[in-house]
Subunit: 352 residues, 3 copies
Amino acid sequence: MPILGEIAAAAAARLQGCNPATVITGVAPLSSAEPGQLSFLTHSRYRPFLATTRAAAVILAPADAVDCPAPALVAANPQIAYARAAALFEPAPETRRGVHPTAWVSPTAQVAVDAWIGPHCTVEAGAIIEAGVIIGPNCVIGEQALLGVGTRLVAQVTICHRARLGQRVLVHPGAVIGSDGFGLALDDDGRWLKIPQLGSVQIGDDVEVGANTSIDRGALEDTIIENGVKLDNQIQVAHNVQIGAHSALAGCVGIAGSARIGQHCRLGGGVGVAGHLEIADRVQITGMSLVAQSITQPGAYSSGLTVEPNRVWNKISARLRRLDELFRRLTALEQILNHRHSPQASLQDHKD
Amino acid sequence: MPILGEIAAAAAARLQGCNPATVITGVAPLSSAEPGQLSFLTHSRYRPFLATTRAAAVILAPADAVDCPAPALVAANPQIAYARAAALFEPAPETRRGVHPTAWVSPTAQVAVDAWIGPHCTVEAGAIIEAGVIIGPNCVIGEQALLGVGTRLVAQVTICHRARLGQRVLVHPGAVIGSDGFGLALDDDGRWLKIPQLGSVQIGDDVEVGANTSIDRGALEDTIIENGVKLDNQIQVAHNVQIGAHSALAGCVGIAGSARIGQHCRLGGGVGVAGHLEIADRVQITGMSLVAQSITQPGAYSSGLTVEPNRVWNKISARLRRLDELFRRLTALEQILNHRHSPQASLQDHKD
Amino acid sequence: MPILGEIAAAAAARLQGCNPATVITGVAPLSSAEPGQLSFLTHSRYRPFLATTRAAAVILAPADAVDCPAPALVAANPQIAYARAAALFEPAPETRRGVHPTAWVSPTAQVAVDAWIGPHCTVEAGAIIEAGVIIGPNCVIGEQALLGVGTRLVAQVTICHRARLGQRVLVHPGAVIGSDGFGLALDDDGRWLKIPQLGSVQIGDDVEVGANTSIDRGALEDTIIENGVKLDNQIQVAHNVQIGAHSALAGCVGIAGSARIGQHCRLGGGVGVAGHLEIADRVQITGMSLVAQSITQPGAYSSGLTVEPNRVWNKISARLRRLDELFRRLTALEQILNHRHSPQASLQDHKD
């Protein structure tokens, strides 16, 4: 178990009022932390808890460190400091190397000597598994797929043929990378003919892919996920989508084919993005919104409506359907009134 | 095959006009039931079918039993009675015990003697598999995970490290329980640093988890699914969510981090729930609605809009974007009219 | 590698200005095609590229072939021609036959001699695997399931007991076919009792099922997916749904129980369809719309709202909640004005 001095070093934080030799046994919220545990203050709203917390030390910002009654680890960006400190308490990473006896690895696959291929994995012909890669149980790596240095597939992940993942990519269970795009041609009888999906998927470094998320391969060119992109669970990324570096997409987002999302974007849960459009850099979309045209300016965008009691909502919804009528009725009134309001009109009016 | 008397006993139903010794060969809808089959009437709307059904017996409510022309199994709650009767016609449950020769079980995992671990399963170190657990093919059980008495994983399920499932939990294929929450800290360069997800998932007794549903582990404390919760397919449950006992969530629901859903709630398909809010007990949300603030009172809530022909919808949608203008124009009219309508104003008016 | 003459034959296209003996090395977009590659023009908008493309031949429509400066493959339906031509460039299909040594196949399963069962697959008792079926790695085939001639499961697919797939069905990774429907009965204490799901799933010929899509088995009768239906990724199909032939559903669609969708329909991404309703043939639904009542006429329907900047949207959203008030205020104004506007009213008016 780490001591406070080590944690401070890892978190690039300054110790205030605490002994660097204190052994820290775990991490806990301010209100429930026990002696020996590390805690954190990420919002000033919770400052009152500083007076009563039993935590051995609290990670906080310089502004909150002034007159802080609790022992503190002071950091310019407490969230980053916390992330670094907490990493010291994660279960030890896999240290196994080699291929589990129940895995099947094609003789033409290349597996680095210090990589780990877990139970019941299948690694197909020509796949390349680079140094330090950890493949958890029951994963499938397709032909000629590439997993870059230090990449980790947690379990039950499918990487289809020729998909290429960069370094330190983390893929959660049930994710599918490189499935066929939804490419169909309509014949003269109204039947669908499959358009072969000849492209693949390129995933950059430090990307995270959530549980049960799927990323389709390109129709002809590749689907591209740039460095540092973070994808939550249950996301659908269609063929030939591009997601710019350091963008983060929350759960259940769906992105249609050939959409291009900029860098440093944030999409809330359940957002839908139509195909063949572009979203500029640094755009934020509120959850459950629909993007159906390109967005050219950075900023925050929404189209979601939040719940009302049914009785209220039914009325709103019914009125909404009569919105066109409403505009017409309003315009009619305006015409009558403008008519009256102009001097001549008024005269006319007074005559009748 | 069961006889009617056994079915009546299992369903706590009263026989009316039928022979308890009749052998029942299966279950079918009223209109298509053949002689020897059991049927049911769950809505009075279908009563006319009672006169013509060929079913050997029909499960129905006392009110529908009056003058019922068909042989009947009368039950206060026909849906519950049907559920119990139909259970007699399910394929015999697995009676296998032990570990399939193709499964891999860590030597430090504890597996009850009457549990079953199917083909190609992986059970990691320290996992605990209690009595009567049935693990179907190709499942992964992470380190120190716990499956309570009588729990069943159908196939291809992933239970991540330290997740704890109660008794008689049923998990459908592709579900992932205990994947990392989507916890990220933004550094000064706009890059995301992963916040370790140190919590886990606790699932109560008699919970059902649908196909391809994912439930993330907590950031620090646990994600909690209480007893009797029923989750349909393709649901996303983010880190530190709490779902109260006996709530039922339909397919494609997405719940953001730290949301707390009460007991006996029902969420329709595709509902989105934002993070860090609370939904009271006995709240019902219509499908495809968005909950973005806490709901403190029981009742039914909605925010979904239903389709119109494009021509109509495009007009509504365009008008909606001018709603603010509409309010202003209306207010302007009101000011003119109120002005005129007051006696002095009218006088003024008449002077010009 | 195929020559142009072969491609023209496969695509039922006419050669114009090119040598049928030219060897074609691959497929590429007009703007990036290199000599020796095949390209295509699916929209006249891109015609200017014809003058500069280096492609060995371009698939295009007769109208675009007039005065075409590039060598061309002229086809009445260029999309269909392209799909057929591109198929020649797909990686060679699996030619393996038999059962991989790491797969487990029940002795009572029937497997055609020329079928392939990949690594770590599980094939349960009584399953029938017909001729030419290809089952990729880590799939699970439940008891008495049926895979028709030429069907292919890519990897990590789960086919539950008794589900029946037709011929040439293609199922992508993570898909689940035949999981239990979400059937629940409420007891008098507000607890859910599972209703056994005794039906199954029938899937026709030439159906495609996307990655991580789930299709539930019927409660009593079967869930039915007719011939030629194309389902994208992350779709939820509930119990007893019927999807008519040649309909195509984009990613993240959710369909509630017992909904019936017609033939030749197209549903955009994220569309939600409520239960127990019918959608006529040849209906198109725009992405992220909600269908809550039956649709009886073919045509295009929508209910999605697209994003605005937050500042604008917040105003619209607030105004929307006051829509009922707006109608009342408008009606009040109309009454005042109609009152005044009618001759008698005007007289009255002038008197005060």
